[in-house]
Amino acid sequence: MAYATALKCRECGREYPTDPLNVCEFCFGPLEVKYDYEAIGQKISRDRIQNGPLTMWRYEDLLPVDAANAVDLQTGFTPLIKATNLGRLLGLDHLYIKNDAVNPTNSFKDRVVSVAATKAVEYEFKTLACASTGNLAGSVAAHAAKAGMNSYIFIPSDLERGKVVGAAIYGPTLVAVDGSYDDVNRLCSELADTYPWAFVNINMRPYYAEGSKTLGYEVAEQLGWQAPAHCVVPSASGSMFTKIWKGLHEFEDLGLIPKVNTRMHMTQAEGCSPIAAAYLAGTTRVRPVKPKTIAKSLAIGNPADGYYSLKVIEESGGDATIVPEEEVVTGIQLLAENEGIFTETAGGVVISGLKRLVESGAIKRDEVTVAYITGNGLKTLEAVESVVKSIRINPTMKEFHEAIPNP
């Protein structure tokens, strides 16, 4: 059963019933799910969680939907890997990689979409929709297929072929929109107001966003029921960043883990870094930018949760790092060559950002550090094609030895 009791405006505090709404009708502030934590506290325990499924749904008591209805592709409970090789290289004794690239559609988006799709089923919507430049598109189309729903996926008309195919295979109605990034944003906001569709990150957004809390729960559980000293996280809208923090604090408040002393570090790529830039400028006013980065899954120029993620950095004593574009691929290679994990460009931003944080002294050698890898490298092959340098030979021993004299 779900313990969500209301939606509450993060700006003015007005409360609304748990309906398909995302903004306060009065001040247009974002709405967030409010829970009955007292009731949750009476039911939840480490044992109850450990006896749950090996998916994100083991945390069902802290999600705003009824797990019995879950639209579930077996998302979550992804590996937390001790990164000994990369740790040694960077000078960290306790570095862990949260590998969320192994989710069903190869990114963390399955967590948020699974919750949004489940809520959409509860509301009896027949259509699941989103506007996307990649990861979200595939996840929404896959969950709609699983739930037996129609789906509409809006994409910019110049989206790379691989990403189009990665969504199209699930059978959605794919709409390629000509126009600027702003045009696509505006059109989809209007469509969400016009049609009775569950737009996962518009009218389903308060529920959708809650799925990212499971990234905080899982890490705490996998570290033996404790929060790490540092989380290094990629950011686009800033939503996941705030929800990892929220998840850790919910666990603390419910007595599942000791006091949280985690410092939250945000990483963004130079070509789209409005939140990190605001942090470094010492302001809470996030100035929108026109994204121009190879880390396309982080290319949100007007981040909805920018202000709130700045507050998390401040509260946690964390930091924000802007990674130069040329270091994105370096980060991908560092992770692949040292840990055998192939991440997409957002992961490259995380690893290069982590390196910078260590070099600046923000993260110390003996502190438990978790780097979040949120998407699979096969999604952004074009970004790393330049590193492929194979040796071509005819199938003879002679040619092999000529090419590689000392194998």
Binding site: F28, A131, F154, Y181, N185, R186, E190, F199, I300, G301
Partner: protein, 79 residues
């Protein structure tokens, strides 16, 4: 009729200009202010616009032409 929730940001040279009033005079667009913070050097206003889609688009283009920054109030939705 379409509705759009937007945020206008005015720099110091525009703070004293009646941009919202002019928008409603030049285009058949209803303006409904919900939240604002105006200071000497910068100001922002969150408002809902209502009108035919073509009028909204032309109206927003005119607002941008004054030097006012225009954002969706709810942030980007393309992820």
């Amino acid at each position: 009729m379409s509705k759009l929730r937007v945020k206008f940001i005015f720099n110091d040279s525009l703070v004293q200009e009646p941009v919202i009033w002019q928008l409603s005079q030049k285009f058949p667009v209803k303006t409904n202010i919900r939240k604002a913070d105006i200071r000497d050097d910068i100001g922002w206003v969150t408002l809902e616009l209502e009108g035919e889609e073509a009028d909204l688009l032309q109206g927003l283009e005119w607002v941008r032409s004054t030097g006012t920054e225009v954002e969706l109030a709810t942030g980007d939705v393309v992820e």
